[in-house]
C-alpha cells in the first residue's frame, strides 16, 4: 500500500461510529425527564448530556427509551451518586454490577463519582456526606477507586465535595487528600467549581488557593451549579450546595479563573432541583461555552465543539 505522508489517514472501518474516548471540551447539561421530548423534537447544539446513574437503574420503560435515542445523538457522561466511595465499609458489589451493566449498555465517554459517602450499615442517606481526611480513609478511598476502575475497566473521575463541617480527626487538607488519591489510583478529577466556592466559604479558606493546590492536570470535567445561602451561628455565610438555582456570578468568576489554569474542559451545568425550562439551562450552557472558547487553544481534534454528534 502506498503511503501518502502529508495526508491524514482515513478512519478505520467503523471508527466513525465508535464512541469518542472523552467528552468534548464544550458545555453540557444534566438530562431531565421533563426535557426528553423537547430534546428529541429539536436537538439543541450541546457538547454532552449527563445522567445520574441510579435514575437509570430501572428494568425498562420510558427512561431507557429516551436515553437510547438521546445518547445516539450526543456524548454522554454517567455520574454516580450512590456508590459511597468515601465510606469505610466495603463497596456494594451488587451496585457495582448494576453500574457495570449500565456502562456496558450506554458506553459513556465519562464515568464519575464523589469523594463522599451515602450509605452506612445498610442505610442509604441519599446525601453526599463528608469524611475525615486521615491515612486510614485515604487507604480506604484508594482501595475503593482501584476496585471501581478495575471492575468497570475504565478510569473514573472523582468529584471534590461541598462540605459544611470538618472533622477534628483529619490529618491532611482536602486538596492534599485529593492529590494523593489521584496520584495513587490514576483516577481523574471532576472539578466542581461551585463545590470549591461553597466549601471554601464554609471553612473560611481561599478558593483560588484551594484550586492551585489541586492536581489540575487530572481534571476531566468541570461542574457548575447554584447554591443557597444561610448564615451560621456567628453570622458568617453558610452556603448550601442546592443544585436548585442559577450559577452565581462569583462561581462564574471562579470558573473563568479555573479555565485559565486548566484550559478548556467539558463543563456541566448541573441543576437537580427547581428544574427550569430547557432554554434556561441551554442559555447557561452557552454562557459556559463562551468562556470555554475564550480560554481554549484552537481546537485541533475532530469532535471538539461540534455540538450534536450525528
Amino acid at each position: 500500500m502506498t503511503d501518502f505522508p502529508n495526508v491524514n489517514p482515513p478512519f478505520a472501518a467503523g471508527a466513525a461510529h465508535a464512541a469518542p474516548a472523552s467528552l468534548p471540551c464544550a458545555a453540557g447539561i444534566g438530562l431531565k425527564p421533563e426535557h426528553f421530548r423537547q430534546i428529541l423534537a429539536q436537538p439543541p447544539a450541546l457538547g454532552f448530556f449527563e445522567i445520574h446513574a441510579e435514575n437509570y437503574m430501572v428494568a425498562g420503560g420510558p427512561y431507557h427509551h429516551y436515553l437510547e435515542k438521546i445518547r445516539a445523538l450526543y456524548p454522554l457522561s454517567i455520574h454516580g451518586v450512590g456508590l459511597s466511595i468515601g465510606g469505610p465499609q466495603a463497596l456494594d458489589e451488587e451496585h457495582l454490577s448494576r453500574l457495570a451493566k449500565l456502562l456496558q449498555r450506554y458506553q459513556p465517554e465519562s464515568f464519575s463519582e464523589h469523594l463522599a459517602w451515602s450509605s452506612h450499615a445498610g442505610t442509604f442517606f441519599n446525601d453526599l456526606l463528608p469524611l475525615p481526611y486521615t491515612q486510614a480513609s485515604l487507604d480506604s478511598v484508594c482501595a475503593h477507586i482501584d476496585q471501581v476502575q478495575s471492575r468497570l475497566n475504565r478510569t473514573m473521575l472523582l468529584e471534590n465535595p461541598a462540605t459544611y463541617l470538618q472533622f477534628c480527626a483529619s490529618t491532611m487538607s482536602e486538596t492534599q487528600f485529593i492529590r494523593e488519591v489521584v496520584r495513587r489510583t490514576g483516577c481523574g478529577l471532576l472539578l466542581d467549581v461551585n463545590n470549591v466556592h461553597v466549601s471554601c466559604t464554609n471553612h473560611g479558606t481561599d478558593a483560588r488557593q484551594y484550586l492551585s493546590e489541586l492536581p489540575l492536570q487530572a481534571v476531566g470535567e468541570i461542574h457548575l451549579a447554584g447554591f443557597a445561602e444561610e448564615l451560621d451561628s456567628q453570622g458568617a455565610p453558610l452556603l448550601i450546595d442546592s443544585h436548585g438555582a442559577p450559577i452565581a456570578a462569583c462561581v462564574w468568576e471562579l470558573y473563568a479563573f479555573t479555565l485559565a489554569l486548566t484550559g478548556a474542559k467539558p463543563s456541566l451545568i448541573e441543576r437537580d432541583n427547581n428544574i427550569p425550562a430547557l432554554a434556561v439551562l441551554l442559555a447557561e450552557a452557552q454562557q459556559a461555552d463562551q468562556l470555554i472558547q475564550a480560554y481554549a487553544p484552537a481546537p485541533t481534534s475532530a469532535g471538539v465543539n461540534q455540538g450534536v454528534r450525528r
Binding site: E54, W117, T123, D232
Partner: protein
C-alpha cells in the same frame, strides 16, 4: 473510622456527633443540621414525587409529617430511590393519624404500582391470534399458562380508590370527588402501553383471576372464576396486550 459510624447514627437519631469543628467556632449543631435536613427532606421529597395523589388527599403539611415518620421508621436501604416507598401504603394503613381516611393506604399502593409499571422491563406481546389458536386446542388448553407483561400491576380495595386516583388526574379534582361513592369496592389493572401507564378499572373478580393467573395454569385459575369473569378478563388481557408469553405446563 469511627467518625462515620457516629455521623450515620447521629443522622438517624438527630443529635450532633462529636469530633466536628468549624473554622470560626460557629455552632457545629447548626451545620450538622444541614446534613440531617438534606437526608430527611431528600427522602420526603422522593416520596412526594411518587405519592402525588396521596399528598393531594391529605395536604402538604400532613403528608410531610407522615412521610417524615416513615423515613425515620423505614429508612432507605438502597441507592435506587425509585423503589423507595414500597411499604408506604401499609405504613399508612397503620398510621393512627390517618385512621380517618381508611382508603389512603390503598391510594398509595396504587401510586407505587404506577411507578413500578412505568419502569418495568420491556417484553414482547403475544398476538391475539396466537392465544386464540391455543384456546382452540383442547388438549393444550388444560396445560396452558399465561405469562403477564412485567408492567402488569393489580390494586384492590374495599374503597373507591381507582375513582379517587382518576379524579386527581383532572384539572379540577374537587369537581370530580363529589360524585364518588367512597364505600364501593374497586380494583384496577395497571399496564404500560407504549410509554404510558394505563390504570384500567376492572371488577374485583377479574383482579382475583389475574392474580391467580400469575400463580396457576389458565385451567386451574379458570376453575374458580365465573364464565363471565373469565371471558371478560381474557378479553381485557388481549385488548391491552398484557400477555407476554404462552407456555404449556408439564
Amino acid at each position: 473510622m469511627n467518625e462515620q459510624a457516629e455521623f450515620a447514627a447521629a443522622l438517624l437519631q438527630g443529635h450532633c456527633p462529636p469530633g466536628l469543628h468549624t473554622w470560626n467556632n460557629s455552632a457545629a449543631e447548626q451545620r450538622f443540621a444541614v446534613y440531617r435536613n438534606n437526608y430527611l427532606v431528600g427522602l420526603i421529597e422522593a416520596l412526594a414525587d411518587t405519592f402525588t395523589v396521596t399528598q393531594a388527599l391529605v395536604g402538604v403539611a400532613f403528608f410531610q409529617a407522615m412521610a417524615r415518620v416513615f423515613v425515620q421508621t423505614q429508612p432507605a436501604q438502597s441507592p435506587l430511590l425509585v423503589g423507595y416507598g414500597e411499604g408506604f401504603g401499609e405504613f399508612i394503613d397503620s398510621f393512627p393519624p390517618a385512621a380517618g381516611l381508611p382508603y389512603l393506604g390503598a391510594v398509595a399502593r396504587l401510586e407505587m404500582a404506577y411507578v413500578q409499571a412505568y419502569h418495568a422491563a420491556d417484553a414482547p406481546v403475544v398476538a391475539a391470534s396466537e392465544l386464540a389458536r391455543w384456546l382452540d386446542d383442547g388438549d393444550a388448553l388444560s396445560r396452558l399458562r399465561l405469562t403477564l407483561h412485567p408492567s402488569v400491576q393489580l390494586v384492590s380495595s374495599a374503597y373507591a380508590v381507582v375513582s379517587l386516583w382518576a379524579a386527581h388526574q383532572h384539572d379540577d379534582p374537587a369537581g370530580q370527588l363529589a360524585a364518588i361513592n367512597l364505600h364501593s369496592a374497586q380494583a384496577a389493572m395497571l399496564i404500560r402501553q407504549g410509554l404510558e401507564v394505563l390504570v384500567i378499572p376492572i371488577s374485583p373478580a377479574s383482579a382475583q383471576l389475574i392474580a391467580n393467573l400469575r400463580q396457576q395454569s389458565l385451567a386451574t385459575a379458570a376453575a374458580t372464576a365465573s364464565p363471565e369473569a373469565l371471558t371478560a378478563t381474557l378479553a381485557l388481557l388481549v385488548q391491552h396486550a398484557a400477555i407476554s408469553q404462552l407456555s404449556l405446563q408439564e
